[in-house]
Amino acid sequence: MSGESDLIYLYDGSYEGMLCCVYESVYGREVPADIVPENEAEPTLFCTKYIETDLEHAQRVQRSLARKIAPAAEDLVRDTFFSCADGKERKILRFLLFAYRAGDAALRMRAHDCVAPLYEAQRALRNEVHLLLGFLRFSEYDGVLVARIRPKNFVLPYLQPHFCARFAGETFLIYDKTHKAALVWQDRRARLVALDNLETPPESEEELSFRRMWRTFSDTIAIALRENPRCRMTHCPKRYWSEMWEMPGGEEEKLKMRSLPEDFTKS
């Protein structure tokens, strides 16, 4: 395989698309300088090559992960792809080119330059998922539960098993503002949909009263003599606070009226 070229791969931004870039690199015997989603590409002096997404190619690469490396490589690669790590496609390709040779030993080389970045990305993603299992807040609108989150990583597929099991009998929607996507659970079926904007109707008196009670509980449970705002921020970073009604700041913003399109509950 030749060394790094001055070529940049462009792809459609999907997981399958990224796998096709790996396919292209392996079978084309070239290592691109970078792999970038088409819509994020900036004009450069590098040559660019658009890689079509071919599901058959994607599947071949997907199968090779378990066969040529180890089953755990599937999770590692997928988690890295959904993380917000810088240059994640490049990191994945670098890892795979290395791991196809090293085999399952690659997964144990946690300190290796080609491997460590993936574990770091995976850890960042899983940490955020775990935090959101607790910090996400639902509000009820006519029996439908709605939550808004602003995660750095694409966490919706990872939140799905937990919330769909826990609230199996409910109808809920989790809107990811960062990635403009939503997880919808309705009639015991989960769907991931693209959604540019989410508007909700004004909160009911009942909803607001639950928020007030929760705020009261949280304020009262704290022991004044032990006050420790820094410890609180360490465990619960401020970027999660905007929808956490019990946290200080933005009182009016938090109770702000929102309007919801008519067809929301039907969609």
């Binding site: 030993a105 144990r108 080389m109 946690r110 300190a111 290796h112 460590a116 775990h130 299992l133 607790g134 910090f135 996400l136 807040r137 639902f138 509000s139 009820e140 539960l145 939550a147 937990h162 099991a165 826990r166 609230f167 199996a168 009998g169 409910e170 009263s209 639950f210 007030r212 009670m213 929760w214 009261t216 509980f217 949280s218 304020d219 009262t220 449970i221 704290a222 022991i223 004044a224 003599l225 032990r226 006050e227 420790n228 705002p229 820094r230 410890c231 609180r232 360490t234 465990h235 619960c236 956490m244 019990e246 946290m247």
Partner: protein, 446 residues
């Protein structure tokens, strides 16, 4: 009285209970029911004091017949009193749970009329929640010392975790400060729960769908700093609770003065937060690091070193154990190195199978080299850093011991950081002064 007011009163009465963990129970969804439990537990928020909020922690009521000196709810104290009805409590729990505010309910109660009456009220509330409201989430319930064993059994079938507060670390303190409670009355239900859990394990082995009795086991808590026990006594008690009563957790609660009483520390005493912190660090060493209580605090020390955490303290007193070769040492030895924790020790064990680890590699695995490098050898460093004892100690000092907000530690008659700060010295300068003093004291002591 409206529910909001009741919630405020009964939360205020419950806030000194420490445990808020929702771990230890792995229950998937059940048809027609609301909720699941997560084995590792989930924190849903953090209150202004930095403690995790995982469960709705409230008392059923705070009308208490007892008069424990250290407790806000003692009958001689003039505080507002309230009681939830089972339905109010269930509606509140479900409302919070559906909005993902909480993992479940932590129900405790003041002793109203008698221990049996109190337990019956709690059982009624939990039954309503489990059956009519079909709640399948986490429940932590407090058993009331002196209640009928049949009631403890009933409670255990409704709850995930049970707990009995041991309250104070010795029988003498208990009889002095909580005259209505006896050691016997506290340990009896603890034994009952332990037996219940063991018996249930045997039943489950035979019959998979046998009803589960307290699947997340039991925990307890004790107040630290209200009575004169030493750290060593407390730690040995903790160890024996884990060994003899198979507890899942022992919690410590730094005493917060709530009453003026000749038997208690005065009202202006700061809660011994650093001491509590050291106890938790030692508790971790007992549970996950293979240390025994007598290793952490031996005949030479009755109390924790305020400036070094217990693991670093052990390391500087046992130079014969080091250096540890990270590429060869067994897992148990890796765990003894300051700067290597359970997670990084596991990663080292996996990674070194493929290639010898270097300092840079260790850093990538999450080892804190700032502390570890004085105690290890690895591929690119055949000897630990050849530095003076003074430098090692300086690197291991716990910054927590120098914050001006911390209570004063008098172990080594170091200058009072608070006094220095109060006399106009900047907080940073006062801390530096204290630090230098601590280093020289420690080096002399080793």
């Amino acid at each position: 009285m409206d529910v909001l007011k009741k919630l405020e009163i009964l939360t205020d009465s419950a806030k000194y209970d420490v445990a808020c963990t929702s771990s230890g129970s792995d229950r998937g969804p059940a048809a027609g029911k609301l909720g699941t439990t997560a084995p590792a537990g989930i924190c849903h928020s953090f209150s202004a004091d930095g403690r995790c909020i995982s469960l709705l922690k409230v008392l059923m009521n705070n009308y208490c017949i007892y008069d424990c000196k250290y407790c806000v709810n003692r009958r001689s104290n003039d505080v507002p009193r309230a009681a939830f009805t089972p339905r109010e409590l269930a509606e509140l729990t479900i409302g919070f749970y559906r909005r993902n505010y909480i993992e479940g309910l932590f129900l405790s109660s003041a002793v109203i009329r008698s221990p049996d009456d109190t337990m019956e009220l709690m059982i009624r509330a939990l039954e309503l929640l489990r059956t009519e409201y079909k709640f399948n989430g986490y429940i932590h319930a407090k058993t009331i010392p002196g209640a009928d064993p049949a009631l403890v059994e009933k409670l255990g079938l409704l709850a995930d975790r049970l707990s009995v507060n041991i309250e104070l670390p010795s029988e003498r303190s208990l009889s002095l400060l909580a005259p209505d409670k006896t050691k016997q009355a506290i340990l009896a239900p603890m034994r009952l729960v332990q037996q219940g859990v063991e018996q249930n394990r045997a039943e489950l082995a035979v019959y998979r769908s046998a009803p589960r009795f307290a699947p997340a086991g039991q925990s307890t808590q004790m107040i630290v700093g209200a009575s004169p026990e030493t750290d060593r006594q407390i730690l040995r008690l903790t160890e024996s609770l884990y060994q003899r009563y198979s507890l899942k957790r022992v919690f410590f609660s730094a005493y917060i003065p709530v009453a003026e009483n000749a038997l208690l520390p005065s009202l202006d005493t700061k809660p011994p937060l650093l001491r509590e912190h050291r106890l938790y660090q030692a508790d971790w060493l007992l549970r996950f690091y293979g240390f025994s209580a007598d290793e952490i605090l031996d005949d030479t020390a009755e109390n924790f070193n305020p400036y070094l955490d217990p693991k670093c303290n052990w390391a500087v007193h046992h130079p014969e154990f080091f250096p540890v070769d990270v590429n060869r040492a067994p897992y148990e030895d890796l765990l003894r190195v300051p700067g290597i924790g359970v997670v990084s020790a596991r990663r080292i064990r996996t990674a070194r199978r493929e290639s010898a680890l270097t300092l840079a590699g260790l850093k990538r695995l999450g080892v804190v080299l700032k502390r570890a490098r004085y105690f290890i050898v690895c591929a690119d460093s055949a000897r630990p850093l050849p530095v003076s004892r003074e430098e090692t100690v300086r690197a291991l000092l716990d910054p927590k011991a120098y914050s001006v907000t911390c209570e004063q530690l008098s172990m080594f008659a170091a200058p009072d950081i608070q006094t220095l700060a109060a006399s106009g010295m900047s907080a940073r300068k006062a801390a530096d002064e204290g630090k230098e003093n601590a280093v020289s004291c420690l080096v002399k002591a080793i």
